[in-house]
Symmetry: C2
Subunit: 108 residues, 2 copies
DNA sequence: TTCATATTTCCAGAATTATATAAATAACGT
DNA sequence: ACGTTATTTATATAATTCTGGAAATATGAA
């Protein structure tokens, strides 16, 4: 993953509405939810919702498929995982023992 | 971790200069680096550097200690880890098998 | 082909964030 | 105390991002 993609993903998540939407979609799983239900859940006007969904979509953190009149959004776990990996890459090369990122660094 | 703290941390990382600074500090380890050396590395004017360091500091992702005239900045692995945990919490409860976040979810 | 539903795009104003010059603060050596 | 080094704070401008009303697009139903 390139730094520019990491920044895009991080800034997609660095906003309350989007982080909440993403959290919801992560919990919901691959099935996803139609845009309308997401907006309803958080009381968002349509253009605001659409702005945030397209931001998340552009970042690759969520996917979108059409089902009839609805657009169904769902978390993209693969890209989320790439972001996680990027953030812990090259971690604490000087001193792995002093590092506190268990998932990635305790295996070093 | 509360959502507000996650957002603060994510927005600290969602900017090229800060993500580069953080990446450097993560690699350097607990020893850290003086502000001056960080600024030199990226060719940043002092106020710009200071703005970004204080942003990262405020987020908890880096720490700062004084050594003589220098302020030494270093990665805070503990808080980085909390952010990672927050992002994968409650992941794919519907269908763990379909989830692609190995570090966190394959153990479910 | 007209109507209703679902959602997006266009747009403009509001809010936030980033940048860098100049001035201030902090610590050390003389 | 004074000068030097290291860094921050104050401040202003520039750039980016967020918000929501109005209009546009896409799909399906009658």
């Amino acid at each position: 993953m390139k730094i520019i993609n990491a920044i895009t993903a991080l800034s997609a998540l660095a906003q309350e509405t989007r982080l909440e939407i993403f959290g919801l979609l992560v919990q919901v799983g691959a099935e996803g939810l139609p845009a309308g239900q997401i907006g309803e859940r958080f009381g968002l006007p349509f253009p605001t919702l659409s702005f945030h969904l397209s931001h998340l979509k552009r970042s690759g953190l969520i996917d979108c498929r059409r089902e009839g009149r609805s657009l169904i959004y769902s978390a993209n776990y693969k890209n989320m995982n790439k972001l996680m990996t990027y953030l812990t890459e090259n971690c604490c090369q000087e001193n792995p023992a002093g590092c506190d990122l268990p998932a990635v660094c305790e295996s070093k």
